[in-house]
Symmetry: C2
């Protein structure tokens, strides 16, 4: 069975062209927008290992940061269709897609869950970001989206963004901190209690939680500490088998899914090889490794 990389990114070219018309400065914000394997699928294929099947999602050029509710919804719907077409055009490389929703338009976000995700074999979930509209993802305003995801049994993929209120942001540590803060805020907002079927797959092996499990367990109220273990996490920490063992120990092996952040992290097309090697070096059993590589994904997607 081929490994399934649950957290891989693309930048659909038509969507990106529209975003650039709205904000030409986007590629200056993050150097990684210029990675050609995000948009050029011939290039992507040239770097492909010939076996790993990627679940593709957008990189963070987010419509709600730049345009109003109606235009953001249109950009999401059409960008998602383009993403789905990319998956179909390279179905050997791309296992499935994870869609974008307009966070400034909850009605259309819910409609995307119910009409563009559900019943579409090319789609397995929705990507959310740690903050939106200057608010935590756990803000009351976004609750309709979580309600819709839980009702439809659609998993959310949680990706970090900077909190622009804070100085000294950097991509080495700040994204990981924001991911962790968002997880705690979701727990403290009661989202994992109210929507007990909600599945959230967190990028970067669940951020700071496994290493600081002692603080989580001793400082948070026990029901919140228990909810922190309900998250699912990927393996996108660029290697580090001992850290992956720690994550598996904390969340349980059944909550860890192979994910790489491809094509980012290690030039030219990501850390797929390094992360596969790290999983191979984990102390868990071979059947647990298979669960991480594809079994857990298949169980969650159903």
């Amino acid at each position: 069975m081929a490994p399934i990389d649950v957290f891989a990114h693309v930048l659909p070219p038509d969507f990106y062209a529209r975003m650039l018309k709205i904000e030409p400065e986007i590629p200056k914000r993050y150097a990684f927008f210029n990675n050609p394997t995000l948009s050029d699928m011939a290039n992507r294929r040239a770097c492909w290992d010939g076996k790993t099947r990627q679940v593709i999602s957008f990189v963070n050029a987010l419509p709600e940061d730049y345009v109003g509710a109606d235009e953001a919804a249109k950009l999401c719907w059409e960008g998602n269709e383009e993403l789905i077409a990319m998956r179909r055009a390279d179905a050997d490389m791309f296992e499935a897609t994870v869609l974008l929703v307009p966070m400034n338009n909850m009605d259309e976000a819910v409609r995307i869950v119910n009409e563009q995700v559900c019943g579409n074999d090319d789609v397995v979930g929705v990507q959310i970001f740690t903050r939106a509209l200057g608010l935590s993802i756990a803000d009351e305003r976004f609750r309709p989206l979580f309600s819709a995801l839980a009702k439809a049994d659609v998993p959310a993929w949680l990706h970090p963004v900077f909190d622009l209120r804070k100085p000294d942001n950097n991509i080495v540590f700040s994204w990981e901190y924001e991911l962790t803060q968002a997880m705690m805020q979701m727990v403290q907002a009661g989202l994992l209690q109210e929507f007990s079927d909600l599945k959230v797959i967190c990028h970067h092996a669940g951020g700071m939680v496994p290493f600081f499990a002692g603080r989580v367990d001793r400082i948070l109220p026990s029901d919140q500490a228990a909810d922190m273990r309900k998250f699912y996490v990927d393996t996108a920490i660029l290697g580090n088998p001992k850290a992956l063992d720690l994550a598996a120990d904390y969340y349980g092996v059944d909550h860890v899914l192979f994910g790489t952040d491809a094509p980012l992290g290690i030039p030219p097309a990501g850390a797929t090889k390094e992360i596969l090697a790290a999983i191979d070096s984990m102390i868990v059993s071979d059947s647990d490794k298979d669960a991480i590589l594809f079994g857990n994904y298949q169980r969650i997607i159903g």
Copy 2:
């Protein structure tokens, strides 16, 4: 050989009474100020395990946050004398002291290193905090202190404080993030290059660095990534042997020192028992465990 806890705190009662006269609200900021075992040594002894020898430092009620340069220096000098007297009065419990310096008075901070630390058998180092005067500890303004520490071969104990410019601070994760940011800022300021003999012992097992070593190694320039491994770290993460193994793997066993944050973390008097059990459960050899429990401290203090 008894374990030596390198990161334990007290709150000298005369010093605290003076600080309370200046700012009566201090105990409202952090609940832990009300822990009686911080100031009442009869209480502390009643909770003592009868073997662990603690290296004691102040909790973070920091003079420079409240008063000018002269008064801050006086509070530090006299508070340090009180701390030293506490050590002498309970020399079976307290291995040594780590002194406070006024960050708004570099001349007196340097004089404390040269006159109150050096040549005093009761003192082994100086405690610094991740930020001071609203600036990073790596700010140019604090360089004279690092220069003095390096010249005198006096280790620095690095403790986190909140960055008050940032919203959503919490003691579960924000302190760990601030610790990590300060470590990176020290490296990026070139402090570990300019002062190559400088020894910095970081609280909480070195923050986010071991878990995100992949990001550190891949995103930072290689000389900076190498400098990140020069820090020494304690074991104060409330248990979690797999996380301690990860820290030992990243920094090297010779850079990990038993430290608990006593009497904080687990009521009534800290996590000494839990952290000793975690070290016992680490995968490293028995001689490596002895190095963590006392050998590395003895080597560093010399």
